[in-house]
């Protein structure tokens, strides 16, 4: 009865959890190693790509998203999409104002 009544539960095998852990360790080492290589602007994107790969592993296996109903993944990804929208639009906006802000620190203020 104990196991039968919870047959809807997916139990992740331990070897898979350990494999994910090993992959996360390798990813951490890779992030640290990659920072020493000069790739210009690519460094940030590479670091973010590695972090996203690690985060995907955590979400898919440690957080069971791979085995759960897709609706939970939709909730999760939706929140990420909105954060990206938020950050992306804010960045687009701040780039628009930079010429006024940085060299002259908003000279328009003097005219007001």
């Amino acid at each position: 009865m104990k196991t039968q009544s919870f047959s809807f539960v997916h139990v992740v095998p331990p070897w898979l959890l350990v494999a994910v852990w090993a992959a996360l360790m390798v990813g951490t080492l890779a992030t640290v190693a990659v920072v020493g290589i000069d790739l210009g602007k690519l460094n940030l994107w590479l670091a973010m790509a590695i972090a996203t790969a690690k985060a995907s592993l955590v979400a898919l296996y440690f957080m069971h998203l791979r085995y759960d109903r897709p609706f939970l993944a939709i909730v999760f990804v939706t929140s990420l999409v909105f954060v990206m929208l938020f950050v992306g639009l804010a960045l687009m906006d701040t780039v628009e104002y930079q010429p006024e802000l940085i060299p002259g620190f908003a000279p328009a203020l003097d005219r007001v």
Binding site: T3, A55, M63, F86, L91
Partner: protein, 289 residues
């Protein structure tokens, strides 16, 4: 759906407003994921602040991140990943009704949380001693003006760093300037600006000029962001550890027998989210190229 396998008798943990254990479990899980979504949005605000400041002032981040200890940050990353593994194993043990394994895994996770906070405390203490703090409290110790390398190795400054001389305010910007002057702030300083918080802030000694050679302006912004992000994350670690203690007590009491494991699963989801956020914080704060 699985009615055939669900015993018709009383299931001890099944609340009366749910039809089946599966329905109860999935409702709980959806609720937890909705909560995690709000947590992501909460951190999203701080990530936005980070992105905007870094896009506008990359030199501050390149300069100031060297005050952070990559080794300690890396160890903390490893500690959190290990704690995530033990947490995932704990969920597995709870699913399989392995009480002993569950207790061991939860205890190990808790231990990792303590280690993380201990290392974080050491980092914070070092920055507090060096005066590497946010806003008006940014007073890097005088002997470290040589640069961040000197600050990383030193550590003899008093707990309350001495205040520097009142910051010199650049003259009111009336005419557009050229050359090196163009790099200066032209936001009207307090003397000519509308009286708001500006005089108060300048009176408190916001470093309007660099402290040492090679130091960019407004380094305190980095430490404001650093302490906000790691501080909020640290609060989440403490909250997660509180949940872990509660789970541990219940596990020792034997609540998670007979296949009932929902609280462990949901607590685990929270713990993994804390790990997830740190996975991004570590390269963003410690590993800036």
């Amino acid at each position: 759906m699985t009615d055939a396998t669900v015993p018709t008798g009383h299931v001890p943990h099944l609340a009366h407003h749910f039809e089946t254990p599966q329905q109860q479990y999935e409702a709980g899980k959806l609720g937890m994921w909705l909560f995690l979504a709000t947590e992501i949005l909460l951190f999203g605000g701080l990530f936005c602040a980070y992105a905007v400041y870094r896009a506008n002032h990359p030199e501050i981040f390149v300069y100031a991140h060297r005050f952070l200890d990559v080794k300690l940050g890396g160890i903390n990353t490893v500690v959190l990943i290990c704690s995530s593994l033990t947490m995932a194993l704990a969920v597995r043990c709870a699913q399989c009704s392995q009480r002993r394994g569950l207790i061991v895994c939860l205890a190990l996770t808790l231990l990792c949380g303590c280690t993380f906070l201990g290392i974080k405390y050491a980092e914070y203490r070092h920055k507090w001693k060096e005066g590497l703090l946010w806003g008006t409290r940014y007073h890097p110790a005088a002997e470290h003006e040589g640069g961040p390398q000197a600050a990383a190795s030193g550590g003899s400054a008093g707990a309350s760093p001495s205040r520097p001389a009142p910051a010199t305010v650049p003259p009111p910007a009336s005419a557009p300037t050229t050359g090196p002057e163009a790099e200066r702030s032209k936001i009207a300083p307090a003397a000519v600006g509308p009286s708001g918080l500006a005089p108060w802030v300048i009176g408190r000694g916001v470093p309007a000029v660099p402290h040492g050679p090679g130091e960019p302006r407004n380094v305190q912004v980095f430490f404001g962001i650093y302490f906000s992000m790691t501080g909020l994350h640290g609060l989440h670690v403490i909250a997660g550890m509180t949940v872990l203690v509660w789970l541990l007590v219940r596990a020792i009491r034997g609540d998670f027998a007979g296949g009932y494991f929902t609280p462990v699963d949901l607590g685990g989801l929270y713990w993994h989210l804390v790990d997830l956020i740190w996975i991004y914080l570590f390269p963003l704060l410690y590993l800036i190229h």
